[in-house]
Subunit: 237 residues, 2 copies
């Protein structure tokens, strides 16, 4: 039987994407993917070194969906807001996979290009390099984690089961003692289900951009070669 050329990286990844979207990341197993392609588990090892490499490729696939806007003359914060919106837009359709990106921000040329652009814009915003690095990571992570924890996304894609989860969570919050947790009881609805996904993510981008515009810029580090003792210590640590 001709059992060759049934598989390639793309096929495996699109299968994994389907499974993860439907049943969560834990449901992505090498044996399961193989079975779904009518192939032996070992066949996957011809295309991926191990499971980690499949996850890497999935993260890469997500990041590849980020439309990186062209650099233009608008103020840095408008360009950054567009970029962040595009970032969120790429992850939103795959909430079960978003966590992969959290620890793989610098994967592939495209991931690097996105990170490079963010640092460029933060430099334009007046942040010294080290602060820009820290704050840039947080900015992206903050949006990624919004996708991971999006209210009303329990993990299962089945609409019926999803609805049950939402109702259960809302009921739980509404059943709390109102004198002790008045705000949680009052906010049970938006905490359980994301009244508007668009608004949820728009608020996320607005919050972080607003913070970047107003947070204090730190003093730039001393230039290399003339560093203070403290800077030198930091550098060699």
């Amino acid at each position: 039987m001709n059992a060759q050329r049934q598989l390639n990286r793309e096929i495996v990844i699109s299968t994994a994407l389907l499974v993860a979207d439907r049943d969560g990341l834990d449901a992505v197993t090498i044996r399961g993917l193989a079975q779904q392609r009518g192939v032996t588990p070992m066949a996957l090892y011809r295309h991926f070194r191990d499971k980690e490499e499949i996850f890497d490729a999935l993260a890469e696939h997500l990041l590849a969906g980020v439309r990186l806007p062209e650099v233009d003359d608008r103020p840095w914060h408008e360009q950054l807001a567009d970029l962040l919106a595009a970032y969120v837009g790429a992850l939103r359709p795959h909430p079960n996979l978003a966590e992969l990106v959290l620890t793989r921000m610098f994967i592939s040329d495209w991931g690097l290009a996105i990170a490079e652009r963010i640092l460029l814009l933060l430099e334009e915003a007046g942040f010294p390099m080290e602060q820009a690095a820290n704050i840039g990571i947080q900015t992206v992570c903050s949006l990624v984690s919004m996708v991971i924890t999006q209210p009303g996304h329990g993990g299962s894609a089945d609409p019926e089961e999803r609805d049950a989860e939402i109702r259960a969570k809302r009921a739980y919050l509404m059943s709390l003692p109102p004198q002790r947790y008045p705000h949680l009881v009052a906010a049970a609805d938006p905490l359980a289900l994301c009244v508007s996904e668009d608004a949820y993510y728009a608020r996320g981008v607005a919050l972080v951009v607003s913070g970047l515009r107003t947070v204090e810029r730190e003093a730039a580090a001393a230039p290399a070669g003339q560093g203070t003792a403290a800077a030198a210590t930091r550098r060699t640590r």
Copy 2:
């Protein structure tokens, strides 16, 4: 042989904490925990319904470490900054476990008390309920994800291996084509290793508080019973 009373929830959790800190969350297995306590895997099922319940208890344990400051007369943003710093302070010692909190923010009385306080302060800040709910989630997630992705924390607690990971990541970033990724090359150092952990987290809190102080407040929703058509649609969706 008297094999009773060797185990309880606390013992299991502290063992799991040790294992996760040392070898990561994947190393926390029921069989492994049992072996480390000199007990059969099945013994754990007398104290936890399943593995999920162990993870829940771990998240609970982390949140229990958050010192919730007393309400006082200072402006909301100062009180919130203190609370967020305390939150980060509780997670920082356990970066391998931080991700558990991301999806378990409302676990246990203490987690609820923290969430309640955040909503209280955001209300004081002038946010209408729905916006406060969305933005409050993001605020916490943003800090939790900073711990998860803290530069220079690869997963292994072994200092030698950790150092090797850091050097590898820095070398990778520095080896990139500088004309294409000038900022990434220049920022290789702070991207790879967190020059100062304290500064890293202080910047995180400062960024999000700064954003909360300056981001636009939305119009409050129409009171119940007199909602606009749009609001009614949203409510029943």
